[in-house]
Structure formats: C-alpha cells, structure tokens
Amino acid sequence: MSGEIHTSSDYIRHHLQNLTFGQHSDGSWGVAHTAAEAKEMGFWALNLDTLGFSIILGVIFFYFFHKVAKSVSSGVPNPAQNFVEWCCEFVDNSVRGSFTAQNDLVAPLALTIFAWIFLMNFMDLIAVDFIPLLATSLGIPFMKVVPTTDPNATFGMALSVFAIVLYYSFKIKGAKGFLGELTLQPFGKWAMPINLFLEGVTLISKPISLALRLFGNMYAGEMIFILIAIMYGAGWVMAGFAGLLQLGWAIFHILIITLQAFIFMTLTIVYLDMAHQEHH
C-alpha cells in the first residue's frame, strides 16, 4: 500500500493528501490510494475526509445548539443555555455593528459560519498524527483531519457566501442598479470599461480572498504542526525541543483559529451589508 511512509517528504505528502473517492482510470469507482490516482479522478470526485469531518462537526454543533434552543427559557438560564446565548449575543452584536439593513438571514448565517469554521479549524489542535494513524491502521490510506486545509471546503463556503451576496445585490438594487454600480463608478459613464474592470476585480476578489485567507492560514498552521512532528524522529534533544515548539504553536494557534473564523464571519457580514446598500 502506498500509504506507507519512508521519508520526511513522504510523510508530509501523506499528511497533505485527502481521502478521495471517485472513478479510477480503469472505469471502476473507489477510493484513491495514491496522490496520482486522486489527481486522475478529475473534478467529479469527493474528498470523503473533508466532507465527513465538516458534516460531523456541523451536526455536533447544531445538535447541541438545537437541543438548547428547544428548551430555552427567558428565566434563569442553565450553563448550556448561558453558553449558547453568549455565542448568539456575540454574533448578534457583530451583525448589529456592521450590518445596517434589515435581513433575518444574516445573523443565523454569521453564527453558522463562525461556529462551523471554528470547529473545523479546531481539528487542527488534535495531535497531527493521531487520527491519520488510526485511519491507516483501519486500512484507510489517507485522512486529512482539518477540513479548512482543503481549498474545496473554503472555496465551497466562500462561493456560497458570494452567491448570497450576488443574490441580495440583484434583489435590493435590481439588475440595473447592480450593473450601474459595476460600470458607472468610480470614473463616471465615459470610462465604463475601466470601471467594469476595477469593480469586477473588487467583486471577484471577495470570495477569493475569503477562501484563500482561511485556507492559507490553516494550511500553513497544519504544515508547521507536521514539520514539528517530523522533529520528534530526530533524537531525544530535538524531540524535547519539538515538544516545547508544539505546545507554543498550539497555544498560538488557538488564537489563529478563532481569529480566522471571526474574520470570515465579519467579512461575510460586511459584504452582505455592501450588497444591501444603495449608492449612486
């Protein structure tokens, strides 16, 4: 099985490969056992680990929140309700702070984004070898634990947000208003192509920056964990040093995962606010 590890670069490559399910080149369907096989499957393949972990995390989150929401009371809250309310108030305050229009979708959307991305990022703090090793021993060739280190996940969310932004842009401003915004600023109607180019770049950069910022941060963080993990194999001194490094980086990473989830949420709110604002 090609999931076996011989060198450092094999180790890294193994850690960065998703568990991909798709059609093999011989026409049969199944899980890819090498990176090359996964590549050959083309677009119509699914990363089972990314989807699986993100769905499990989302379900855990919504199970907990829904359970609390069902028994919620306006009296003295129990600890679980307290926590849930604290989360919701935090999101609600962020929405009130940046979103000026009236839309019932935005706050639940922001809560979903924040909680889901936070949980997916949080998987980064589980020891980097733990789950892949478990998976390998169960015969699963690859297992990438952190869904947000897969650009499919981040782009999937960013493009969804982008679709919502476009939907509300058309809905609030109308096709004419939205196109006018794209073509008549900032230089007036005689410089339409330049305006379109500038505004188009601004528009397209929204989902790309959303997706790549989250992906880049998480990918880099994961990579550092992997590199630290490699140091464990380089003698006692290095192993001790690696332990310290891992602890430090994990503590620092708690900040990063929260911050990235918060940034994704805030930018989504801001983009939606822009979609709701009419200006000429």
Partner: protein, 156 residues
C-alpha cells in the same frame, strides 16, 4: 489538494446548515434573549416607580408633619393669648370690684359719720337744753321754747 466536487458538497452542506440555523436555532434563542431583556427592563422600571412613590410618600409625610407642627404652634399661641387676655380681664374686673367695694365702704363710712354726727347733734342739743333748763329751771317753760331749741339744733 485538487479542486473537485467536494466544493459542491461543501456548499450544499453549508446551505443546509444555514437553513437549519435560521429555522430552528436562531429564532428561539433570540426570542428568549429579548423576552429576558424585556423582563429585566420591566423589573427595573417597576423598581424605579417604587422608589419614586416612596420618595413622594416621604415628602408627603414631611409635609403632614410640618402642617401638624404649624397647627400645634398656632394652638399654643392662641392659648397663650387667651391666657393673657383672661389675666388682663380679671385684672380689670378686680380693679372695678375694688373700686366698687371702696366706694361702698366710703358711702357706708360717710353714712356712719353722718349718723354719728346726727347722734352727736342730738346729744349736744339735748345737753344744751339740759344745761339751759338747769340754768333757767325756774322761769322758763320747756314747752314754750321747744320750737326755738329745734331750730337751734337744725342750725348746728
């Protein structure tokens, strides 16, 4: 690290989660939060109202106390005045009474004096007549000179 259909799967999952959150999670929690906010606001307002009422009652109590004090003071002043008046009145009465008693006494004294004078006059007249009768016992008849003697007694 290939872009593949996971993207679509992730997007679909994302939309389902948003829908679920919007439908089943967010509204009840927000409703509870708003209800509690309302409860707290009501409680605070009630407390404020209670404090206000208490303040009013206190002010009213002070007013009543003031009034009572004022009334007591006026009653005391009145009583004082009445007392003084009474003293003055009795003083006046006593003066008049004394005057009257004195006048009565004087009148009585005068009467007594007059009576005594009358008595004396009679006695003197009797004495004079006695003396005169002793002196001129033999020739003078008492009866013929009674008239003369009475006019002399009236002149004294």
């Amino acid at each position: 690290m290939n872009i593949n259909a996971t993207l679509i799967g992730q997007a679909i999952t994302f939309f389902i989660f948003i829908w679920f959150c919007m439908k089943y999670v967010w509204p009840p929690i927000m409703q509870a939060l708003n209800e509690r906010k309302q409860n707290i606001a009501d409680g605070l307002a009630a407390a404020e109202r209670g404090r206000h009422e208490h303040e009013l009652a206190e002010r009213r109590a002070i007013d009543i106390l003031h009034e009572a004090k004022e009334e007591a003071r006026s009653i005391i002043t009145q009583a004082h005045n009445r007392g003084t008046e009474l003293v003055e009145e009795s003083k006046g009465n006593a003066g008049v009474e004394g005057e009257r008693i004195i006048t009565a006494a004087r009148a009585e004294i005068e009467q007594e004096v007059n009576r005594a004078k009358e008595e004396l006059r009679k006695q003197v007249a009797l004495l004079a007549v006695e003396g005169a009768s002793r002196v001129i016992k033999r020739e003078i008849d008492a009866k013929t000179h009674d008239e003369l003697l009475a006019s002399v007694a009236a002149q004294i």
